[in-house]
């Protein structure tokens, strides 16, 4: 009989449903098959013209009906598709989930198409006056919804019958992990038996690409797109902007067992620590990332030597991978050379607000399947980063526990510890 309470007397949190969409496809099966065969979802950008852009590749999700309908519509569809898979797998009615919703999604902005359309609707006054004047005469609820930060979660709440006021969170590239953490904490506090945590990001617009480009954050290895994302390689030159989503149904182990649900994994611990050093760079000593990893281990009640695998943040930027290595080697010491550490981003790119959730989903599947997805494009190892990155080819392994890292612009670091089985 598994313990229903953890080492701190809190309800154990199980995962009973998982859904995923990435540039590799819709659903767990397709994604897992691609991920474990080392396939890349990175491809040339076709959604908008690439004239004058330094980066001409991405991991956009181009195969959904909303893929050409703007960031808000696509982010909603990504979230809905992943949540549908997860809720169905968990065995709950897909219109009556009856637990809280935590959504990680990108900040919204009015689409340029809408700005152009508003502007063209009048010919007097300054640009901003024209937009306002036409906006109030058109009174378009559809356009309005794309400008409200709570709208996507509101629609998802309607769609899945979640309970209460849905929370939309943004902690930059850690958002997906934060959404999971919020769900875990709500169950631990006894506020609910189950929660739906989603990370979704369909915001790869031209403007988003240009902004990251101006910060020199993106890879410009355009010639062979599937080779551009190369975490921990010596010649890594930035991340690849990507889209995707993942949803987890989180449930108290007690509730899951009571209704005979299949337990897909355990969310054992969450840890976070904010960085106060710089808006885009992390503290040179790595102390915030180190503290976040340690906090997650402590929260999980696990020692450093009880982690079997690290699902790295591994963005493929010079800065992140160096810092992540520093923090991992500080926490795990010499043993880090022997722990497999791989980056899903080598294949799917950086899905920003969704990354933490997608990588948690893949971490859970890694444990269930006993297969570690590789870090692909590892042809030119960075000698200063001595890690077993599971280079290029998947590896069979018994994985009982995973640490998944998420480190965000703005200094928000969140780490999750997951386990295959309850104890």
């Amino acid at each position: 009989m598994a313990n229903l309470k953890d080492h701190l007397g809190r309800p154990v949190v199980a995962v009973t449903g998982i859904g995923v969409v990435t540039s590799l496809g819709v659903g767990k099966a397709d994604n897992w098959a691609a991920l474990t065969s080392g396939k890349s979802g990175i491809h040339p950008i076709t959604r908008f013209p690439i004239d004058l852009l330094n980066t001409k590749i991405s991991g956009m999700v181009d195969f959904l009906p909303s893929s050409t309908k703007g960031a808000s519509a696509l982010t909603y569809e990504l979230a809905e598709t992943a949540a549908q898979e997860a809720v169905e797998e968990a065995g709950f009615a897909s219109d009556d989930f009856d637990g809280p919703l935590f959504l990680a999604s990108p900040p919204v902005e009015l689409d340029w198409r809408d700005r152009f359309a508003l502007y063209a609707g009048d010919d007097e006054g300054s640009a901003s006056e024209r937009l306002l004047k036409v906006a109030r005469s058109q009174n378009s609820l559809d356009m309005f919804d794309t400008s409200q930060f709570g709208s996507i979660a509101d629609r998802l709440a309607d769609r899945f019958g979640t309970r209460g006021l849905p929370i939309t969170t943004s902690t930059a590239c850690a958002s997906g992990a934060t959404a999971i953490q919020l769900g875990v904490e709500a169950i631990r506090r006894g506020e609910c038996d189950r929660a739906l945590s989603i990370g979704a990001d369909g915001s790869a617009t031209a403007e988003a690409l240009i902004r990251f480009s101006l910060l020199s954050a993106l890879s410009t290895n355009n010639d062979v797109p599937e080779k551009a994302s190369k975490p921990f390689s010596k010649d890594r030159d930035g991340f690849v902007l990507a889209e995707g989503s993942a949803a987890l149904v989180l449930e108290s182990l007690e509730s899951a067992l009571a209704r005979g649900a299949e337990v897909l994994g355990i969310l054992r611990g969450c840890g976070e620590k904010a960085d106060d050093f710089h808006r885009t760079r992390s503290k040179p000593d790595g102390s915030p990332a180190i503290a976040a990893v340690k906090a997650a281990l402590a929260d999980a009640g696990l020692a450093e030597d009880e982690i079997d695998y690290v699902n790295a943040h591994g963005t493929s930027t010079p800065e992140n991978d160096k810092m992540e290595h520093l923090s991992l080697s500080t926490v795990f010491g010499e043993r880090i050379r022997k722990i497999p550490v791989s980056s899903n981003k080598s294949m799917i790119g950086h899905t920003l607000s969704a990354a933490g959730a997608i990588e948690a989903a893949f971490s859970l599947m890694t444990m269930r399947e006993g297969v570690i997805p590789p870090t692909i494009n590892y042809d030119n190892p960075d000698p200063s980063i001595e890690l077993d990155v599971v280079p290029n080819v998947k590896r069979k392994a018994e994985v009982r526990t995973v640490l998944s890292n998420s480190f965000g612009f703005g200094g928000q670091n969140t780490c999750l510890v997951m386990a295959r089985e309850p104890v």
Partner: protein, 395 residues
Amino acid sequence: MANRDVVITGIGLVSSLGEGGAAHWDKLTAPGTTPVIDAERFPPYAIHPLPQIDWSLQIAKRGDQRQMETWQRLGTYTAGMALDDAGIKGNDELSATMDMVVAAGGGERDEAVDAGVLAASENRTDRDVLLNEKLTTELRPTLFLAQLSNLLAGNISIVHKVTGSSRTFMGEEGAGVSAIETAVARIRSGQSTHVLVGGAFQTEHSDMLLGYELAGYLHRGPWKPVWQRQGSEGGGVVTGSGGAFLVLESRDHAEARGQKIYATLSPVLSSRARRRNGGLEAGIAELLAKTDLPDGELLAVSGASGAHAATAAEKAAFDANPAIAARALSSLTGHMKEAQFPFAVALAALAVDRGAGYPAFEQGEKIFAGKPENVLATAVGYHQFEGMALVSAPR
């Protein structure tokens, strides 16, 4: 048994009325205080503008100030005031273990660049290429960071060294409600000992007005106080720039360090009424019932936006509870979106602390002459999401 009652120990406020808890108390309780209104800059809309602020009082480094636009500066400044008020600012240990939940929208876009793109679009059919041309050459790299929702929290970490944890909630008034509700739940369960929570809104930018006006929510024509805008031209909302941050602590944590306690905060409730079915009034009534209101007359600081449907529903719910004497704070500050609920809670805490109510902010608001032991704070979103909280005397 640890006492994890949630208490308010720090208040930071900025609005068109001024800055600081004391200044707001004085203005809001003085007879005949009139709102600060600017009807010239964004016709046909009136707004409540920011007062003159010396940013360096809370953001010492010019370099830090330059990395932000007004919205992030305003939030970082207001957060600093709350930390100062709670005796935490500059205390490295307390700051490093402090959790933070920020309610945020987005920051300011570069209006000049946007206007340039739009002007050029009149003579171009290849607008996507035009976007690439303009944005690759004219966008300032740092402006992206000034726009990012989570970078208000990021700047608070950098400037004030609050680094225990950092979460940003998005979603208009509801984000402010969830931020406070989550902070309170964390403290009550022992997940946090002290939390910085709040938000800011900078309305003096046309995009911030556009966010309301896409659905026709803004009031037009001569300014009117909140409860009197029904039937007026436009949608009823008059916005204001402002910020509100609170320091929340467990009672044990606050007492152990001998910190002044303004008030206790419990319960905090939130909901998502099915408004399209006309369910808002019933939703607000249900929240009032769950709040377990004390007997006798009750002062309420209402975050009502003025938006016609939402404000009518809130008014009807109050009218059905004759003991409630509501004060619509937006009549004097304007609507501050994500900061609206934290602001209402802060004003409620000030009334409890001072042991006096607020005079009517506009004609028709009921007289409240008693000494408030409990004050209700509400935020009913102009479009979606609702919340309320009860703020009570500490003993």
